[in-house]
Symmetry: C2
Subunit: 223 residues, 2 copies
DNA sequence: GATAGTCTGTTGGATTTCCAACAAAGGAGA
DNA sequence: TCTCCTTTGTTGGAAATCCAACAGACTATC
């Protein structure tokens, strides 16, 4: 059954691959497009999932259920995003999470074994695909480590300094803009929004930084 | 220059590879063993690092320097462990961290490009190597996500419940042992040890769990 | 079983965060 | 400009955490 994948959204996993090659590659990967209704389960906690999923349209939630059965949404996976790859790559035998469609959702299920098994010369794009997969995992990794560094700080002030310092270093200058509003920043750092606002005020009073909305300037010791 | 790698410690990166094949593989990867003295720098923040490092003997520290120049040790990499792989895989152009030897240390530097570029049939072990690399990144990823879940909880009690619940689920039973002592657990959850001990006592009083040292039992609502 | 050293639990006061409610500032549309 | 709505900042009391100091439990060694 031939499918038209030209509608594949931008997707890190297929970055650098020509659209013209995509069809043969997807064939080689045993990629299967599937449609799910809202509330349907793509993979279930406790089972195995030896595939890599790509959301073509719609949204799905990664859900964890704790010891007492309380559910929490760990992530929302949108168009073009990959899911399940960590569990497939890590060869986990009992999935710790489920994925459930938040709305009508179309996904592409790819056989993970085919991703890492470079086939004959017919499919020279495996190398690119593997490189993409490594990059996806590695980038996520780096972002997670950085977030943990911030979260590990004990006080709100330290968390803010850790985050803002990292942003300044990344921007390569003392003045920079952050991609969060206050509520989002508070959620990211796992602190209370109003308390965080208050702390920012104190830090300004202490000549540590200047800010207006999303624009910040860190001050060096002697300025 | 032929080197004897028979002394390579157990290493996830080379898992599943026969020792007899190792020499030719390492050759193919342009692996270079290097010795560093205590305090020497293996890779420097700000630069590029397109290699993967494996610690053969000794220890090195991954170090981050913040906006004001304060240094913190992010990780200690010991024998058999891989380092730098996230930055190479993510193709970061300016390293955010440095690595400095904590003692006299011997490392194996591998050309990352050679890891992902499957060569001719002469080296059939690339597939295993790539699979190993993916597994290393993915496992780290899963562990980091789980840690973030715990750290994101606001109160000490919630952090403990999040951690212990995950341990119980992993163990597949209500009774389980944790791999940390109290101080280590407190550090992992980024809370104060004595406050955490106190909270554990309260939770026991509230009939949420039982414990003795590293052995815990979670109690279901109606027991 | 005596001893020393480490790990765990307890306590109270200082500090910090949370929470709720409200005030002020900024932005979009009429 | 005026109005409505969202975002950000401020405040004070309640709750939780941190911190330091100490007591009790456990372990290894002699």
């Amino acid at each position: 059954m031939k499918n038209n994948y030209s509608s594949l959204p931008d997707c890190q996993l297929f970055a650098g691959l020509e659209e013209t090659n995509l069809d043969s590659l997807l064939n080689c990967l045993e990629a299967v497009p599937r449609k799910f209704a809202k509330g349907e389960v793509v993979f279930t906690a406790g089972g195995r999932f030896d595939k890599v999923g790509v959301v073509i349209s719609g949204n799905l939630h990664i859900i964890r259920e704790d010891f007492w059965g309380n559910r929490t949404i760990l992530a929302r996976i949108g168009e073009g995003n990959v899911f399940g790859e960590s569990f497939s790559c890590a060869k986990i035998n009992r999935l710790p999470v489920s994925s459930i469609c938040a709305e009508a959702t179309e996904v592409l299920l790819i056989n993970y074994a085919r991703v890492i098994t470079t086939c004959s010369s017919a499919c020279a794009f495996h190398a690119q695909l593997i490189s993409n997969m490594l990059r996806i995992l590695a980038q996520k990794n780096i972002a997670l480590v950085q977030k943990i560094e911030h979260l590990t700080q004990r006080t709100t002030r330290e968390k803010l300094l850790s985050y803002l310092s990292a942003q300044a270093l990344e921007a390569g200058g003392d003045i920079f803009e952050i991609p969060f509003n206050r509520q989002e920043l508070a959620d990211y750092l796992a602190v209370e929004r109003s308390a965080m606002s208050a702390e920012l005020s104190k830090m300004r009073a202490d000549n540590i930084l200047l800010y207006h909305r999303g624009r910040f300037e860190l001050l060096r010791k002697d300025s």
